[in-house]
Symmetry: C2
Subunit: 102 residues, 2 copies
DNA sequence: TCGCTTGTTCGAGTATTATCGAACTATCGA
DNA sequence: TCGATAGTTCGATAATACTCGAACAAGCGA
Protein backbone atom coordinates (compact mmCIF):
# COMPACT_ATOMS: atom_id res chain seq x y z
CA UNK A 1 0.00 0.00 0.00
CA UNK A 2 1.43 3.24 -1.24
CA UNK A 3 1.74 6.15 1.13
CA UNK A 4 1.78 9.82 0.27
CA UNK A 5 3.51 12.78 1.78
CA UNK A 6 1.04 15.32 3.13
CA UNK A 7 2.37 18.37 4.94
CA UNK A 8 1.20 18.97 8.47
CA UNK A 9 -1.39 21.67 8.89
CA UNK A 10 1.04 24.07 10.50
CA UNK A 11 3.50 23.56 7.66
CA UNK A 12 1.08 24.65 4.96
CA UNK A 13 2.68 27.60 3.21
CA UNK A 14 0.65 30.42 1.73
CA UNK A 15 2.76 31.06 -1.35
CA UNK A 16 2.77 27.34 -2.11
CA UNK A 17 -0.99 27.21 -1.81
CA UNK A 18 -1.42 30.20 -4.10
CA UNK A 19 1.00 28.72 -6.58
CA UNK A 20 -0.80 25.39 -6.60
CA UNK A 21 -4.08 27.16 -7.28
CA UNK A 22 -2.66 29.34 -10.04
CA UNK A 23 -3.17 26.58 -12.59
CA UNK A 24 -6.58 26.25 -14.27
CA UNK A 25 -6.59 22.45 -14.11
CA UNK A 26 -5.66 22.40 -10.44
CA UNK A 27 -8.10 25.02 -9.27
CA UNK A 28 -10.83 23.14 -11.15
CA UNK A 29 -9.88 19.96 -9.30
CA UNK A 30 -10.16 21.79 -6.00
CA UNK A 31 -13.47 23.37 -6.98
CA UNK A 32 -14.85 19.97 -7.92
CA UNK A 33 -13.74 18.45 -4.64
CA UNK A 34 -15.33 21.34 -2.79
CA UNK A 35 -18.63 20.53 -4.46
CA UNK A 36 -18.50 16.75 -4.45
CA UNK A 37 -16.61 16.00 -1.27
CA UNK A 38 -14.36 13.24 -2.55
CA UNK A 39 -13.41 11.86 -5.92
CA UNK A 40 -10.97 9.42 -7.41
CA UNK A 41 -8.29 10.60 -9.79
CA UNK A 42 -10.19 9.07 -12.71
CA UNK A 43 -13.31 11.01 -11.82
CA UNK A 44 -11.31 14.20 -11.84
CA UNK A 45 -9.93 13.61 -15.30
CA UNK A 46 -9.42 16.83 -17.22
CA UNK A 47 -8.78 15.33 -20.62
CA UNK A 48 -5.06 15.00 -20.04
CA UNK A 49 -2.93 11.87 -19.84
CA UNK A 50 -2.81 10.17 -16.50
CA UNK A 51 0.80 11.13 -15.99
CA UNK A 52 -0.04 14.80 -16.39
CA UNK A 53 -2.94 14.56 -13.99
CA UNK A 54 -0.78 12.75 -11.49
CA UNK A 55 1.66 15.63 -11.64
CA UNK A 56 -1.10 18.07 -10.75
CA UNK A 57 -2.41 15.91 -7.92
CA UNK A 58 1.05 15.85 -6.48
CA UNK A 59 1.31 19.63 -6.64
CA UNK A 60 -1.97 19.95 -4.75
CA UNK A 61 -0.96 17.29 -2.27
CA UNK A 62 2.42 18.81 -1.49
CA UNK A 63 0.85 22.23 -1.06
CA UNK A 64 -1.44 20.69 1.55
CA UNK A 65 -4.64 21.29 -0.38
CA UNK A 66 -5.78 17.73 -0.89
CA UNK A 67 -5.35 14.42 0.83
CA UNK A 68 -5.05 11.26 -1.24
CA UNK A 69 -5.93 7.90 0.23
CA UNK A 70 -5.53 4.59 -1.58
CA UNK A 71 -8.79 2.67 -1.67
CA UNK A 72 -8.52 -0.54 -3.56
CA UNK A 73 -7.05 0.15 -6.95
CA UNK A 74 -8.24 3.71 -7.00
CA UNK A 75 -7.10 6.66 -4.94
CA UNK A 76 -9.59 8.89 -3.25
CA UNK A 77 -8.90 12.60 -3.08
CA UNK A 78 -10.46 14.95 -0.62
CA UNK A 79 -10.06 18.64 0.03
CA UNK A 80 -8.29 19.37 3.32
CA UNK A 81 -10.80 22.06 4.06
CA UNK A 82 -10.66 21.93 7.83
CA UNK A 83 -6.86 22.00 7.88
CA UNK A 84 -6.64 24.91 5.47
CA UNK A 85 -9.35 26.78 7.35
CA UNK A 86 -7.44 26.34 10.56
CA UNK A 87 -4.21 27.53 8.98
CA UNK A 88 -5.72 30.35 6.91
CA UNK A 89 -9.28 31.10 8.01
CA UNK A 90 -11.54 32.25 5.20
CA UNK A 91 -8.93 31.90 2.49
CA UNK A 92 -10.26 28.83 0.72
CA UNK A 93 -13.82 30.04 0.78
CA UNK A 94 -13.00 33.34 -0.90
CA UNK A 95 -10.81 31.71 -3.52
CA UNK A 96 -13.50 29.16 -4.34
CA UNK A 97 -16.04 31.93 -4.58
CA UNK A 98 -13.75 33.85 -6.90
CA UNK A 99 -13.24 30.73 -9.00
CA UNK A 100 -16.97 30.46 -9.53
CA UNK A 101 -17.23 33.95 -10.92
CA UNK A 102 -14.16 33.48 -13.11
CA UNK B 1 5.97 60.24 -20.01
CA UNK B 2 5.99 56.49 -19.91
CA UNK B 3 2.71 54.65 -19.84
CA UNK B 4 1.99 51.22 -18.41
CA UNK B 5 -0.38 48.50 -19.40
CA UNK B 6 -2.94 47.82 -16.70
CA UNK B 7 -5.67 45.28 -17.39
CA UNK B 8 -9.26 46.43 -17.12
CA UNK B 9 -11.07 45.34 -14.00
CA UNK B 10 -13.21 42.82 -15.84
CA UNK B 11 -10.12 41.32 -17.44
CA UNK B 12 -8.43 40.51 -14.16
CA UNK B 13 -7.85 36.76 -14.16
CA UNK B 14 -7.94 34.72 -10.97
CA UNK B 15 -5.15 32.29 -11.80
CA UNK B 16 -2.92 35.18 -12.84
CA UNK B 17 -3.64 36.96 -9.58
CA UNK B 18 -2.85 33.84 -7.57
CA UNK B 19 0.32 33.27 -9.53
CA UNK B 20 1.47 36.84 -9.03
CA UNK B 21 0.93 36.46 -5.29
CA UNK B 22 2.71 33.11 -5.09
CA UNK B 23 6.08 34.81 -4.83
CA UNK B 24 7.32 35.95 -1.40
CA UNK B 25 8.72 39.22 -2.70
CA UNK B 26 5.57 40.10 -4.57
CA UNK B 27 3.11 39.28 -1.82
CA UNK B 28 5.22 41.38 0.53
CA UNK B 29 5.00 44.30 -1.87
CA UNK B 30 1.23 43.94 -1.95
CA UNK B 31 1.05 43.66 1.84
CA UNK B 32 3.13 46.80 2.22
CA UNK B 33 0.94 48.72 -0.20
CA UNK B 34 -2.14 47.52 1.68
CA UNK B 35 -0.70 49.03 4.86
CA UNK B 36 0.88 52.19 3.48
CA UNK B 37 -1.44 53.10 0.64
CA UNK B 38 1.11 54.11 -1.95
CA UNK B 39 4.85 53.78 -2.34
CA UNK B 40 7.51 54.32 -4.94
CA UNK B 41 9.51 51.42 -6.30
CA UNK B 42 12.53 52.54 -4.32
CA UNK B 43 10.54 52.48 -1.08
CA UNK B 44 9.46 48.93 -1.80
CA UNK B 45 13.00 47.71 -2.27
CA UNK B 46 13.48 44.14 -1.14
CA UNK B 47 17.24 44.00 -1.26
CA UNK B 48 17.32 42.94 -4.89
CA UNK B 49 18.72 44.78 -7.90
CA UNK B 50 16.42 47.28 -9.51
CA UNK B 51 16.03 45.14 -12.60
CA UNK B 52 14.76 42.25 -10.50
CA UNK B 53 12.34 44.46 -8.64
CA UNK B 54 11.11 45.92 -11.90
CA UNK B 55 10.35 42.42 -13.08
CA UNK B 56 8.19 41.79 -10.03
CA UNK B 57 6.37 45.09 -10.35
CA UNK B 58 5.52 44.19 -13.88
CA UNK B 59 4.13 40.83 -12.82
CA UNK B 60 1.89 42.52 -10.28
CA UNK B 61 0.88 45.20 -12.76
CA UNK B 62 -0.04 42.79 -15.52
CA UNK B 63 -2.03 40.66 -13.09
CA UNK B 64 -4.04 43.78 -12.24
CA UNK B 65 -2.94 43.95 -8.63
CA UNK B 66 -1.16 47.28 -8.64
CA UNK B 67 -1.28 50.48 -10.62
CA UNK B 68 1.92 52.34 -11.37
CA UNK B 69 1.87 56.04 -12.11
CA UNK B 70 4.92 58.11 -13.09
CA UNK B 71 5.39 61.03 -10.75
CA UNK B 72 8.44 63.04 -11.55
CA UNK B 73 11.39 60.71 -11.72
CA UNK B 74 9.84 58.18 -9.41
CA UNK B 75 6.92 55.89 -10.03
CA UNK B 76 4.14 55.58 -7.51
CA UNK B 77 2.56 52.20 -6.94
CA UNK B 78 -0.83 51.68 -5.42
CA UNK B 79 -2.90 48.59 -4.73
CA UNK B 80 -5.93 48.31 -7.01
CA UNK B 81 -8.04 47.31 -4.06
CA UNK B 82 -11.39 48.60 -5.28
CA UNK B 83 -10.96 47.00 -8.68
CA UNK B 84 -9.97 43.65 -7.24
CA UNK B 85 -12.77 43.79 -4.70
CA UNK B 86 -15.24 44.43 -7.46
CA UNK B 87 -13.91 41.57 -9.55
CA UNK B 88 -13.39 39.11 -6.68
CA UNK B 89 -15.14 40.30 -3.52
CA UNK B 90 -13.37 39.32 -0.33
CA UNK B 91 -10.44 37.66 -2.06
CA UNK B 92 -7.76 40.23 -1.39
CA UNK B 93 -8.76 40.69 2.22
CA UNK B 94 -8.50 37.00 3.03
CA UNK B 95 -5.18 36.61 1.24
CA UNK B 96 -3.73 39.61 3.05
CA UNK B 97 -4.98 38.23 6.34
CA UNK B 98 -3.39 34.90 5.54
CA UNK B 99 -0.15 36.65 4.63
CA UNK B 100 -0.04 38.24 8.07
CA UNK B 101 -0.25 34.91 9.83
CA UNK B 102 2.30 33.32 7.52
C1' DT C 1 -1.73 -16.85 -11.10
C1' DC C 2 -3.26 -14.06 -15.01
C1' DG C 3 -5.14 -10.12 -16.68
C1' DC C 4 -7.36 -5.78 -15.94
C1' DT C 5 -7.71 -1.37 -13.76
C1' DT C 6 -5.84 2.67 -11.33
C1' DG C 7 -2.47 5.58 -10.63
C1' DT C 8 2.61 6.70 -9.87
C1' DT C 9 7.34 7.38 -11.39
C1' DC C 10 10.87 8.16 -14.74
C1' DG C 11 12.99 10.52 -18.50
C1' DA C 12 13.20 13.70 -22.22
C1' DG C 13 11.81 17.71 -24.52
C1' DT C 14 9.77 22.24 -24.20
C1' DA C 15 8.36 26.40 -22.15
C1' DT C 16 8.13 29.70 -18.63
C1' DT C 17 10.14 32.31 -15.09
C1' DA C 18 13.78 34.24 -11.92
C1' DT C 19 17.97 36.70 -11.57
C1' DC C 20 21.21 40.15 -12.46
C1' DG C 21 24.44 43.35 -14.99
C1' DA C 22 24.54 46.66 -18.55
C1' DA C 23 22.55 49.91 -21.42
C1' DC C 24 18.80 52.98 -21.99
C1' DT C 25 14.89 56.58 -21.03
C1' DA C 26 12.81 60.23 -18.67
C1' DT C 27 12.57 63.83 -15.27
C1' DC C 28 14.32 67.29 -12.37
C1' DG C 29 17.57 70.75 -10.44
C1' DA C 30 21.67 73.52 -10.78
C1' DT D 1 22.92 71.66 -20.92
C1' DC D 2 25.01 68.66 -17.58
C1' DG D 3 24.64 65.52 -14.06
C1' DA D 4 22.10 62.95 -10.85
C1' DT D 5 18.17 60.09 -9.83
C1' DA D 6 14.44 56.50 -10.65
C1' DG D 7 13.02 52.77 -13.22
C1' DT D 8 12.66 50.14 -17.39
C1' DT D 9 14.31 47.09 -21.00
C1' DC D 10 17.50 43.90 -22.98
C1' DG D 11 20.22 39.75 -23.08
C1' DA D 12 22.14 35.78 -21.08
C1' DT D 13 22.07 32.10 -17.75
C1' DA D 14 20.00 29.13 -14.50
C1' DA D 15 16.25 27.07 -12.35
C1' DT D 16 11.73 25.35 -12.30
C1' DA D 17 7.56 23.49 -14.09
C1' DC D 18 4.48 21.45 -17.78
C1' DT D 19 3.58 17.69 -20.90
C1' DC D 20 3.45 13.22 -22.39
C1' DG D 21 4.83 8.38 -23.46
C1' DA D 22 6.69 4.36 -21.45
C1' DA D 23 7.64 1.49 -17.78
C1' DC D 24 6.34 0.24 -13.22
C1' DA D 25 3.54 -1.00 -8.82
C1' DA D 26 -0.49 -2.46 -6.34
C1' DG D 27 -5.03 -4.30 -5.77
C1' DC D 28 -8.92 -6.96 -7.33
C1' DG D 29 -11.60 -10.55 -9.65
C1' DA D 30 -11.87 -14.72 -12.32
Amino acid sequence: MRTYKHPKTEDIDLTRVLYALSDPIRIEIVATLARQGTASCAELDAGRPKSSMSHHFRALREAGLIRTTPEGTSHINELRRADIDRRFPGLLKSILKAAESA
